[in-house]
Symmetry: C2
Subunit: 248 residues, 2 copies
């Protein structure tokens, strides 16, 4: 496996950094190749702008996703974006390491997706989900929370973690074609006792060693939707976003 780990934490001695180290060691020992994008260390710029393109097809008005498509064809991305795109295309396993901030990734990682997951390569005319550009590759979230497990479980006060991460796991990773593996979560890292927290590291190593057996996030294939873009009537919804209807 060629693994790309994208890491976002401002503190080099954080527990997230130790989870990152655990992943690098575990995957390397298992014979996999590993690259790391440590976004804070790289001083990654998360702000998508016209400056991301060495040439502009539409210089008068920025249409970001259309410029991406042109830049894919003409290889005219700014160097920092081009390098990250190359790493994603290289990998067959993408791992995201981050602390959960406001039910999502830190802004520096959101901007990695905004700038690197480009139209014409990860998504676009080629399709999405099972027809996404990254189809056949796998992705996995590894995150830490300030919540106890009951808070992010079924009927938990924060809502289910499947809901919290829907925009990322389904809307970004699965959307681009990745098969999404069961996440690893270190809950309440600030509040558990030292023994529990230290125990997360071997638990994460085990998780990564079981890569081939990890459950996969259910999705729907494009063929299951009708011309009105809705799930065909005889298809039972398998995902959170397809199951929900507002109480009347």
């Amino acid at each position: 496996v060629k693994a790309l780990i994208v890491h976002a934490h401002p503190e080099p001695t954080s527990f997230n950094a130790r989870l990152l180290d655990t992943a690098v060691t575990t995957l390397t020992e298992a014979g996999h190749e590993v690259q790391v994008s440590d976004l804070y260390a790289m001083r990654w710029d998360p702000v998508a702008s016209g400056a991301d393109f060495l040439e502009r097809r539409f210089p008068d008005q920025l249409q970001y996703d259309r410029e991406q498509k042109t830049a894919v064809a003409q290889r005219t991305f700014r160097a920092d974006v081009a390098e990250e795109i190359e790493k994603v295309v290289w990998c067959d396993l993408l791992v995201l390491q981050f602390p959960l901030w406001w039910y999502s990734v830190p802004a520096i990682m959101k901007g990695w997706f905004d700038r690197v997951f480009v139209n014409g390569l990860m998504y676009g005319a080629l399709g999405r989900f099972d027809q996404g550009g990254m189809a056949g590759r796998r992705a996995m979230v590894s995150t830490t929370t300030g919540a106890f497990p009951g808070m992010v479980g079924e009927r938990g006060v924060m809502g289910h973690l499947d809901a919290i991460l829907w925009h990322l796991e389904y809307g970004t990773l699965a959307y681009s074609g990745f098969t999404v593996l069961e996440r690893f979560v270190g809950n309440a890292v600030r509040y558990v006792d030292d023994e529990t927290r230290e125990g997360y590291l071997p638990a994460y190593a085990d998780h990564l060693r079981r890569l081939e057996e990890l459950p996969v996030m259910p999705t729907h294939a494009n063929a299951e939707f009708g011309p009105d873009f809705a799930l065909l009537p005889d298809v039972e919804p398998r995902t959170l976003g397809h199951s929900w209807s507002r109480p009347r």
Copy 2:
């Protein structure tokens, strides 16, 4: 009403900018006070770091949320953060204007929440949801998508928009105590005909004029949860994140 509109789009002539103008005009004409934070125009820095604090309580290892708490008490935020905090505290209506990128806000706006929604003021020991720091204030999303309505409706291919925006509307706005008003959505802005797109502007103005009648996002009060952090057995879940359980 004192309205703060936070706007995130890299192109000053975008349709999002026209929605922003519509909101400023409509709210002003209705007699409300309006402030705007145009994040791209301000060159807002979305990357949370130790540099956000003029003094550090724990200089050896950055614990971002703990430093926030200290900085609230001692008024030691960097000027750009302090100014935005002041605007949020000033407002009683927060409006977010952005294009939907990867089922979420552009990174520049995610980093506005990371840095401005601080521990000890918007959330923290004081509580969350009905006990959140912003309780009694209202918030509303105004967004544009590249999707047709059926794609983001019930059983739609992208999943329900309530799922897509859960991390923002529930996990950020409601979490901090805001009452979340029904969102305004301009779907498929790139793909609809000119007449339909132009029609979004008066529709948005109408939406804003009906502020007092807009439906409110259902939430659960803290009192509805037990000591295990789960909804009490006799409470019927009202939200997406409390309704979901994984298919077995």
